[in-house]
């Protein structure tokens, strides 16, 4: 048996080189977002990336189901989208549906993170030494700690973990980038190529007194309406849900828990 002949080797080599040269531009074009559309030729496309930090949520784009999140699968990348606006919807049993309008631009990906708020938000009355079905019993020292937290005035600005800060100014709440030079994350951008410097959380008629990052959004309290949770995203339509609707109520985030003070009573908000 003779060694592989030079001619055969040349055929393999040139064949593969030819295939490589044909496939390479296709791969590079695809990777850059180019796509062939019948009647339009090659067009530049963009994409959407939806991060869903919950299992069992159904993701759809423009009414078309894309997939369901699981324990491992928490991100959905939808590519090959012509530049336009797209309605993203994420639904899950027991949660309020989440909708977002995303603008897709050429060669860019609009990313977003779904915020699913439970249908029922339960304020649990905090107590020590008493027993009742609607009361959460905690230790006296913890109760005192929570009470003392309300003696200190709420901060007018709070720094988040993603380079963003909350500012409470003249009764309004804004989220701004902490570092001026830093590129904004996508929630600041109405479209991928255009980003705002701040996200208004509450700048209407009500007067906000405190705000903090919590539960994937911003919790703020107004003098008139009580406590709310709002998604920090400039794109329509940000989630806004009432957390504790009673004028004059206050809140603090203590050790990752949302504690509400209403008169002399303390509540812990569960479910967020």
């Amino acid at each position: 048996m003779k060694p592989l002949s030079r001619n055969k080797r040349r055929i393999y080599l040139f064949g593969l080189v030819l295939l490589f040269l044909i496939c390479l531009p296709i791969a590079l074009f695809f990777a850059s977002g180019y796509s062939f559309r019948h009647g339009f030729g090659f067009i530049r496309t963009g994409g959407i990336f939806v991060s869903v930090p919950y299992a069992g949520a159904v993701v759809s784009v423009n009414g078309e189901e894309v997939g369901t999140s699981g324990l491992v699968k928490r991100g959905f990348y939808i590519d090959n989208l012509a530049p336009s606006s797209y309605e993203v919807r994420v639904t899950r049993d027991g949660s309020r549906p989440w909708n977002k309008t995303l603008v897709v631009e050429e060669n860019l990906v609009s990313d977003t993170r779904a915020l699913l708020v439970p249908l029922e938000i339960q304020p649990m009355l905090l107590a020590f030494g008493a027993e009742a079905s609607s009361t959460k019993i905690i230790s006296r020292s913890l109760y005192n700690l929570y009470s003392l937290a309300f003696d200190v005035p709420a901060a007018t600005s709070t720094r988040g973990t993603f380079g963003e800060s909350i500012f409470v100014e003249h009764g309004d709440v804004f989220v701004r980038l902490s570092d001026e030079g830093a590129l904004p994350s996508s929630n600041f951008c109405g479209r991928p190529s255009y980003c705002a410097e701040e996200i208004p959380i509450e700048n209407g008629r009500q007067a906000s007194v405190a705000a903090a990052f919590f539960g994937g959004g911003v919790v703020y309290a107004t003098k008139e309406g009580g406590i709310f949770l709002k998604e920090a995203d400039i794109r329509p339509t940000p989630v806004v849900v009432p957390v504790y609707q009673k004028a004059g109520s206050l809140f603090r985030v203590i050790d990752g828990r949302l504690i509400v003070k209403d008169g002399n009573k303390l509540y812990e908000i569960e479910g967020l």
Binding site: M1, L4, R9, L16, F20, A31, D79, V109, L183
Partner: protein
């Protein structure tokens, strides 16, 4: 003053004064600077490529991402191309193993051909040495046409000398001649290693065997076999046939396929993967003879060996260097003929996992230190105008590209190629390219896995019969072991390769490291 035993060969190589240069420090003036720059070249290219990737990942992550896609696609096509060669060589090797090479020799004048087998050894046990010599006796070849030189290292002490004498006493009478020699310690101009040992042994064989028996040098074929090499039955017949039918036998070396089957069932998974990976690379090269240099156990006509001054005594990679010595000595008119016939050696294994990993790393660093040949090749090409430019260019390109890709490709594909995603910044991370990079690269890399399927299928057919003490699970492991390849490629190929090239770059020259051989049970 050279050792007396070295004088003979220096006389042979005076017109080619550069033939046995080991490193830049042996030269002076302009030549020294040039050689040093050549030594630095492989490290410079590899580090340069990796640094370029890192720099691009920060400054132009889109370019780096495109390059990663190009690399991953190139990897796929290269895998296909190499797999074709591997599969073909496997078929050819199996065919050659089934042939009766003695029958093929009937019409050829082979009676005058004598085989000189050199076994260098250092601290191996009696069992290892004896089994290799028994392999020669078991071969389907008249042992009265085989001379054996068992070349111990004097520095190994009396114990090794005794092992050699015992082997000679037991088996020596079966051969035409059997000599035990002890390579002296501390000869000026030598480094400790296989090259200095077998060069000494070859000259001793000339003085003690060839000249007294008046054996014509041009009819003596020297097989320089590692001490753990056990030849397959038809090795000598196959080698003789290739020698006698070669287009230009006096300008040819002969390369068998090194299989690491001696202890493959005892060796741990990591060791097996590395052993077969090395064998498969040699099998691929067998079908690409223009890229083939001698490696590990190989055969050379004595006349040419003598004229080239034997193996270099001052380099680590004497096995591949001897080819380049001969290539330069005969002005580019020298080739390696692939035999597509195996010899069996020991897979690199130690009693513990970490011991094995350490040994494999060091062994592969030694092998990839073959990059030291690049400086030698470029320098001799510069000094020898009689080698045609086309041959110089091809040889230099193949060697430089080979050592560059060995180090850079796995590191790019499995490490630095993904840097743009980490350091490319928010601007890059918002692009379609950033999202598509892992998707596209994954497609090509996943498709490349079919190469592993080819490896697994061939590996299963090359492995010797499973010993009774091992169950079916051991056989199953032989299939699944290939999943380790992406890791072993980086840790035991790229990184030791980079380590070796860095040593050349900074002049921290590597010494020879003897792979420990464990007595076979």
């Amino acid at each position: 003053m050279p050792h007396p035993r070295l004088r003979f060969s220096m006389q042979q190589t005076v017109p080619h004064w550069y033939l046995h240069i080991g490193r830049a420090s042996e030269l002076s003036g302009r030549d020294r600077i040039i050689y040093r720059l050549f030594e630095m070249l492989p490290g410079f290219l590899s580090v340069g490529t990796l640094l370029l990737f890192v720099a691009l990942s920060f400054t132009r992550p889109d370019w780096a991402a495109y390059l990663t896609i190009v690399f991953s696609m190139y990897w796929l096509f290269r895998t296909i191309y190499l797999s074709i060669h591997l599969r073909y060589n496997f078929k050819r090797m199996r065919h050659n193993m089934a042939l009766d090479w003695n029958a093929r020799l009937k019409d050829l004048k082979h009676e005058e051909v004598v085989h000189l087998v050199i076994f260098p050894f250092y601290n191996e046990a009696y069992d290892v040495v004896a089994e290799s010599v028994r392999g020669l006796i078991r071969a389907a070849w008249d042992t009265k046409r085989i001379c054996v030189v068992l070349s111990a290292e004097a520095r190994a002490g009396e114990e090794q000398r005794k092992i050699a004498e015992r082997v000679k006493e037991e088996f020596g009478g079966k051969f035409l001649d059997f000599q035990v020699v002890a390579h002296p310690e501390g000869v000026p101009g030598e480094i400790i290693g296989k090259g200095s040992n077998i060069s000494y042994a070859a000259e001793e064989a000339r003085i003690r065997i060839l000249d007294p028996r008046k054996l014509p040098y041009e009819r003596v074929l020297v097989s320089a076999l590692d001490i753990d090499t056990v030849v397959y039955p038809q090795y000598f017949a196959c080698l003789t046939w290739h020698f006698l039918t070669a287009e230009n036998p006096s300008r040819s070396s002969f390369q068998p396929v090194p299989l690491y089957n001696n202890n493959i069932w005892q060796a741990p998974m990591l060791s097996r993967v590395m052993a077969y990976s090395s064998s498969f690379w040699q099998m691929i090269q067998q079908e690409r003879p223009e890229k083939l240099a001698t490696f590990s156990s190989h055969a050379v006509p004595f006349q040419q060996l003598y004229e080239a001054g034997y193996w270099q005594r001052n380099v680590v990679s004497e096995d591949s260097r001897i080819f380049w010595n001969l290539f330069a000595r005969y002005d580019g008119n020298y080739t390696v003929i692939p035999m597509a016939y195996p010899v069996s050696m020991d897979a690199n294994a130690a009693p513990t996992f970490f011991g094995t990993a350490k040994n494999i790393y060091r062994q592969h660093r030694r092998w990839t230190y073959g990059a030291e040949n690049i400086a030698y090749i470029l320098f001799t090409f510069m000094k020898n105008p009689r080698i045609p430019f086309g041959k110089k260019f091809r040889a230099a390109f193949v060697q430089i590209e080979g050592f560059w890709s060995l180090v850079t490709h796995p590191l790019v594909l499995f490490a630095v190629g993904w840097l743009p995603l980490l350091v490319g910044g928010k601007g890059f991370n918002a692009t379609v390219l950033s999202y598509n990079l892992p998707l596209v690269a994954k497609v090509f890399l996943t498709a490349s896995l079919f190469g592993l399927v080819v490896c697994a299928a061939i590996g299963m057919q090359l492995v010797p019969e499973r010993p009774r003490e091992y169950g079916r699970w051991r056989s199953t492991q032989l299939l699944f072991q290939w999943a380790l390849v992406p890791v072993t490629m980086v840790i035991f190929t790229s990184i030791p390769g980079l380590d070796a090239q860095m040593r050349l770059l900074f002049g921290r020259y590597l010494g020879f490291w003897v792979t420990p051989k464990i007595a076979r049970t």
